[in-house]
């Protein structure tokens, strides 16, 4: 089944509202004083977890598309990735504004001294060029392959995000463990596909051209 472009637009609009709802619910809870005794911590935690969730959702589009044959899913991916960045930006904002209250020396010390903040900050910095290049103009300018190579930065970004969570918790690592296992599964799948492709190419069959496929099939075997 392939939705018409009209249906895709409707779908995108619904998805946009859905992606925005966690932020809306958080704002409502904040207003109603329902975020518990430490609302700043609750906000920081929630925006951080939503960042990780959106990264995982974005990463699952390709496998979903591959196994379901619903290639139109790809057209939703940019929005999901941008939401990951948006929640990451909210997460950083709660830290800089509500947690540290713009105490720049303290923030700089934290980034330098605290490994969990260092990796979290690195992940957000790495996400920035991805967000900035998420428009058709830049994709055309960069060319598909280079753009795709840049956007593979989501792999280390997700791992850094998991590490950030893991290093932050005091003792009960259940939640970061779940995020890490999911991330590893989604990245492992890609490694597995690549290995299969490499074997296929090595088996002497068909070698894709070095240029011209806009990154759809990568030539792995050198020759």
């Amino acid at each position: 089944m392939t939705p018409t472009s009209h249906q895709i637009s409707g779908l995108k609009l619904a998805l946009f509202a859905l992606c925005l709802s966690p932020a809306a619910l958080l704002l409502r809870d904040l207003q109603l004083d329902q975020l518990g005794a430490n609302p700043i911590e609750a906000l920081t935690r929630a925006t951080g977890e939503w960042t990780l969730r959106f990264l995982l959702i974005t990463l699952s589009i390709t496998p979903l598309r591959k196994y379901s044959g619903w290639h139109w899913l790809l057209r939703l991916r940019r929005m999901l990735g941008l939401f990951a960045f948006a929640y990451g930006a909210m997460h950083l904002t709660t830290y800089v504004w509500l947690d540290q209250f713009f105490d720049w020396p303290a923030i700089a010390r934290d980034i330098y001294k605290r490994p969990f903040i260092t990796v979290g900050f690195a992940a957000l910095v790495l996400m920035t060029p991805l967000a900035l290049s998420s428009n058709s103009f830049v994709i055309r300018r960069m060319g598909g392959r280079r753009w795709q190579a840049l956007h593979r930065a989501i792999y280390p970004i997700s791992l850094l995000g998991c590490l950030h969570f893991w290093w932050l918790v005091k003792k009960d690592i259940t939640e970061p463990l779940i995020y890490t296992l999911l991330t590893c599964a989604l990245l492992g799948l890609r490694a597995w596909w690549r290995e299969q492709e490499r074997r296929k190419q090595l088996a002497g069959g068909y070698l894709p051209p070095r240029q011209g496929f806009n990154g759809k099939i990568i030539r792995i075997v050198a020759k």
Partner: protein, 307 residues
């Protein structure tokens, strides 16, 4: 003709909030007291603890809201999320209860809670509580000095340390995370210090389960996790006991765990704290502001090494 104009003042503007809340509390307590007297259980059921002696150690600060103190708890046996313990109070039955004091003492014995309440007059102690995670509260505990209990057991000359063991029930409580039961420890002089108390109440009432009912340790100049909850055993030893957190992370949690803004947790700074209910952050005070009373116990010690 009589024309009545509606009152332009809301009842809530006439009744100060504290009074209003006090009435609410009274109604709730009257209810639970009625229940307590109706049931053939001991006196350790929920209710007001009666008149309390004041204590000069009490902080002259506004106590944190009761709701925050009773819904934001680290009590991993009842769940690792801070909201969990208040929701899982059914996992711990505070009655009947006995606290045993044993080890290097001449008079080892067990105390029921009602016996414990008679050892010394109950005092209100309003203490700052600084959590190792970087937040703090001001908590109006009710309790007795730990020293008064230790005296009853008559420690032997070679006793140097005190080990505290919390209740643990594998059937109902969290498994994994820490090596259960939860244990903590103090040096004997720390345990005998007049600031150190066994708390049996909060805000004038018996201790809520999520805060460590029926009896817990409170050591206000140390990080909150030193205050072992729901105590079943107090053991005097010659060797320094290994605590649950030392076993879990020896590089992050030491035996002393005194509040110290200059010695960071390996993963985060201890220089500041967020007082629950406040927006900005406060500077953390050495020994949580109790340096005048306790610093002499650590003179000559390298507090970086003995963290």
């Amino acid at each position: 003709m009589l024309i009545r104009t509606p009152a332009d003042i809301l009842p809530s503007e006439i009744t100060p909030q504290a009074h209003y809340e006090g009435r609410r509390r009274f109604i709730a307590q009257a209810g639970s007291l009625a229940l307590a007297t109706a049931l053939p259980a001991g006196p350790a059921l929920a209710g007001n603890l009666g008149p309390l002696a004041r204590n000069p150690f009490s902080a002259q600060e506004e106590p944190t809201a009761r709701k925050a103190i009773t819904t934001y708890n680290n009590f991993y046996e009842l769940g690792t999320d801070k909201a969990d313990p208040a929701e899982n109070t059914h996992r711990l039955k505070p009655t009947p209860w006995t606290l045993r004091i044993e080890g290097l003492v001449n008079k080892p014995r067990s105390f029921g809670i009602d016996e414990l309440l008679k050892i010394a007059p109950l005092e209100e102690r309003i203490y700052r509580m600084r959590c190792v995670e970087g937040w703090s509260m001001v908590i109006p505990w009710v309790g007795i000095p730990l020293a008064s209990l230790l005296k009853q057991a008559d420690p032997q000359g070679n006793a140097k340390y005190v080990e505290f063991v919390s209740h643990y029930d594998k059937a109902t409580m969290t498994r994994g995370v820490l090596d259960w039961p939860y244990t903590e420890g103090l040096r004997l002089d720390e345990a005998r210090h007049p600031l150190t108390i066994l708390a049996v109440g909060l805000y004038g009432d018996t201790l809520p389960i999520q805060n460590g009912a029926p009896v817990r340790l409170v050591v206000p100049w140390k990080y909150g996790f030193k205050g072992a909850k729901s105590l079943v055993t107090i053991r005097l030893t010659e060797k320094q006991p290994l605590t649950a957190w030392m076993k879990a992370g020896p590089s992050e949690y030491g035996f002393y765990s005194n509040v110290n803004p200059e010695v960071d947790h390996p993963r985060w700074s201890q220089a500041t704290e967020r007082r629950i209910g406040e927006f900005g952050k406060r500077k953390t005070l050495m020994f949580n502001g109790y340096g005048e009373q306790v610093a002499s116990m650590y003179s000559g010690m390298d507090l970086r090494r003995f963290f």
